[in-house]
Structure formats: C-alpha cells, structure tokens
Amino acid sequence: MEELNCKSVRHNLWDYAAHTSEASELGPAELTVAEYTAIDSHLDSCRDCDRCLADVSSLRTGFRHLPVQAVPPLVQTRLQVIASRERSRQLLRMNPGAWMRDKLASAMMAFNHFLRPYAVPATGGLLSSCLCFSMIAQTLQLRPYLFDDDMPIGVFTEMSIADVSPFSFSGKDVTVQVTVDASGNVANYENMPGTKPTPEEYEEICGLLLYSTFTPAMRAGQPVSSKRILTVQHMNYKIDSRGLGHRD
C-alpha cells in the first residue's frame, strides 16, 4: 500500500484505535490489514499523528466511560403495564372467539359512552315535556259533542221547499231548474231540455213557484244561492164542505 499522508491517517485513526483496543468487538471490515499496517508504519514515523492517536484513544475511552443512565422506576413500571396490556391483546388476536367477545364488549362500551352525554338532557327533556303537557291539558277545550240539535256547519245542505203554493197546476208534468237566492226567494227558473210548456202552463208554473216558499241551501252554516231541478206534476185541489182544501 502506498504511504499515507497525515490527513488520510487521521481520517482513519478512529477505526485504527478501534482495532487496537482490546475491548472492541468491531469486526475487521472497517479497516483492511494493509490499511492497518500502513497507518501503523506512519504512526511510527509521525509524532503528531501519534499524539492524535492518543487523543482519539482517550476520547474513545471517554465515550466508553460515559455514565450509564439507570432507567427510572416509573418508566420501568410503565413498561410492565405496556407489556401486560399488549400481551393481552396478543392473546386475544390468537383466539378469535375471545377477540370477538372483546370487540363486542368494546363496542357496547363505546355505545354506552356515546349515549351517556345524552342521558341526562334526554331524561330532563322528557320529564319537562310531560310536566308542561299536564299543566296545559287543564286549559284545553276538548269537550265532545253532546248536543243533538247541533247543526253541522262544515257540510252543504240542499235547498228545500218549505211550503207549496196553494195554486194548482192543471197541465202535464213539467221539469224545471229553479234558482233560489240566499233569502229563499225564487230568482229564476229554466225549462229543462225537451220540455216546452204552453203559455197557460207557463203562467201556472210562475204562480206556483212565486207563491211557494223555499229554505235556501246552507254552506258552512251560511245561506247561499243554489239551483235545483223540480218536477211540477198535475194536481187537483178540492174544497170540502168546511172550506178546507185537499189535494187529490
């Protein structure tokens, strides 16, 4: 091997010192035998590098004699706890049934923990709502229908004839559509298609309708105008000996 200069020797002094140290267990891979020999011969001839080797050796000795820090008891205890817990996990992983049971228990616990924050507010809310309802229920108008003569106000009732005119009708049967206003008066009437009364019949129909009284149609309790189809039939009207009229 070619002769080394001081810089390259000092570059390898640490590895050289490791080789020369009796306590070192480092393998021979860091320095070849040729390198070791070359450095050795250089150190024999160079006093400065030899002093550097002494300093490197003293530094290495310093490193080796650095105090070994004892592990604090608290850390040791924590390590024991970690080991115990991890061993339990490892045992669970090796036993699928136990693992499933453990996961189920963990899920149940997580579910319970999830619900716990809501338990007090939910219970309080339910109780307060029951209390408020019991206080308000006293004032609610919830009486049931107990009156027979009560008129339903939400339905539509048809117009009806309250009283028929005392005049008779001598013609054939006629069908008319009568319009009765909200006050119960006949507002109009129309012949139905296919019927064509004679002028005499027309006058009789007018008299019959005008002198009849009607009950107007009701919607939501209020009288309204409405239409209805009426059939006027032939009527005979007799007066008995007492002066009372009778229909045949």
Partner: protein
C-alpha cells in the same frame, strides 16, 4: 422467568448464537409468552433508554421514547421478518421515535420553561455508575470529562450525533448503523467523520478557546498538553 438464551452448539459464533436467541425470543413474543415480554424489557430497556437519552439529552423525553419504542415493538412483533437483528430493529425504532420526539419538541416546546430551570441546582439525572475505587480527584476529573463530552454530543447536529452515538457508545458496525438510520454506508461514514470533527472542534474550543484547531498536520490542542479527557 423463562430463559431465552441458547447454548445449542459451542461451535456457533456469537453472532449466530445471538441470532438464534433473537429468533427464540421473537417466537415466544408471537406466542404471547409472559416471560418473553419480561426478557425483552430486561434486555433492551437500559440500552434504549440510554440511546434516547443521548439523542434527546432529556431524561423525561427519553422515558417517553422508551415507552413508545416498546409499544411499537410489542405491536409489530408479528410483522418482524428477521431481515436484521432484533437489536438493530429496536434501535431503528428508537432512533425514529427520538427523531419524532425532537421534532415534536421543536414545534410545541418553544418558550416553555420547566421546573428544573427554576431550580438550576437540582440535577434530575440518574446517578451514574462510577467506580468507587477511584480517588476524589480522579472522580472529579472523570466527571468533568464526562460532562464535557456529553455537552459536546448535545451540541452537534442530531444527524451526526445519532451516527456517532451508535458507533462510539453503542459500538455498532457501519452496516448496522446504516440499517438503523436507513441510509447508505457511505453516508454513515460521512456522518460519523463529520460528527467526530464537529465534536473535536467543540472540545477544542472549550478547552482552548483562544485558537482554532487545524485538522492536519498540526497537533490537536485539546490533547494531553491542555487536558486529557481520560
């Protein structure tokens, strides 16, 4: 307590025997044997704690790192393929955890003042193991040298420090360090050389602040003439 040290064949090298012991220990851990956990903790808690302590220079943070390291080891023992030795694997986790811890501290502990800073006289480090046979003068000198060396280690770059600690204190080979730090062998050597140089400069400045130190060929000033570290 279970003993996972094997003595199967006297012809086995120490490395082969260590590999067999590691394999037995890993198998026992995968079977969740109680003694295996105890053995692993007993074997590695002190080295991991000291490594973390050197990398972070804080005993409390080192304790946190040790817990994280063992937690990861226990949880990932089933996925350990045995490509490296058990020690290399655990050290790699420790170095990564220390790196993460340092980054976390850098982000979250700016401006934070610990109680130990309020009472500077209290040294909460654990008592070092010292030779009771040395004289008080030797003890003082050694202690001074140790503190100086620790200060120097704490002062250099974390990347260089990790490589230097693994090499000089943990006495790992370049290949193991490359595995632990997940870098190439050339980078390992470069970091170690630069770490040594940074440490040398720091010590030289501390011991002889007046003059700078030349790498070559002038003799170093922090050596025997100015104060031997030994």
């Amino acid at each position: 307590m279970a003993d996972y040290s094997l003595n199967l064949n006297a012809s086995l090298t120490s490395e082969q025997q260590a590999a067999l012991e590691d394999h037995a220990l890993i198998s026992a851990l995968q079977r969740a044997e109680a003694g295996a956990y105890e053995t692993l903790i007993r074997r590695f808690q002190a080295p991991v704690y000291n490594l973390a302590w050197r990398l972070l220079d804080n005993p409390a943070d080192a304790g946190d790192v040790v817990q994280e390291v063992f937690l990861k080891v226990f949880r990932n023992v089933n996925s350990f393929r045995g490509d490296s030795s058990l020690r290399t694997w655990i050290y790699r986790i420790a170095v990564n955890e220390a790196h993460n811890k340092r980054r976390w501290l850098f982000r979250h502990r700016k401006g934070e003042t610990g109680i130990e800073d309020v009472f500077p006289g209290d040294d909460n480090r654990e008592a070092p193991l010292v030779d009771a046979g040395e004289t008080p003068f030797d003890f003082t000198m050694n202690r001074e040298a140790q503190l100086l060396l620790e200060e120097g280690l704490a002062a250099i770059s974390p990347a260089f420090r990790a490589a230097l600690v693994l090499r000089e204190i943990e006495e790992l080979s370049y290949e193991e360090i490359a595995n632990i730090l997940d870098i190439s062998m050339g980078t390992v050597k470069s970091r170690i050389v630069r770490g040594r140089e940074a440490l040398r400069c720091y010590l030289a400045n501390r011991l002889n602040p007046a003059g700078a130190i030349d790498l070559a060929p002038a003799p170093v000033k922090w050596g025997l003439e100015t104060g031997n570290l030994k």
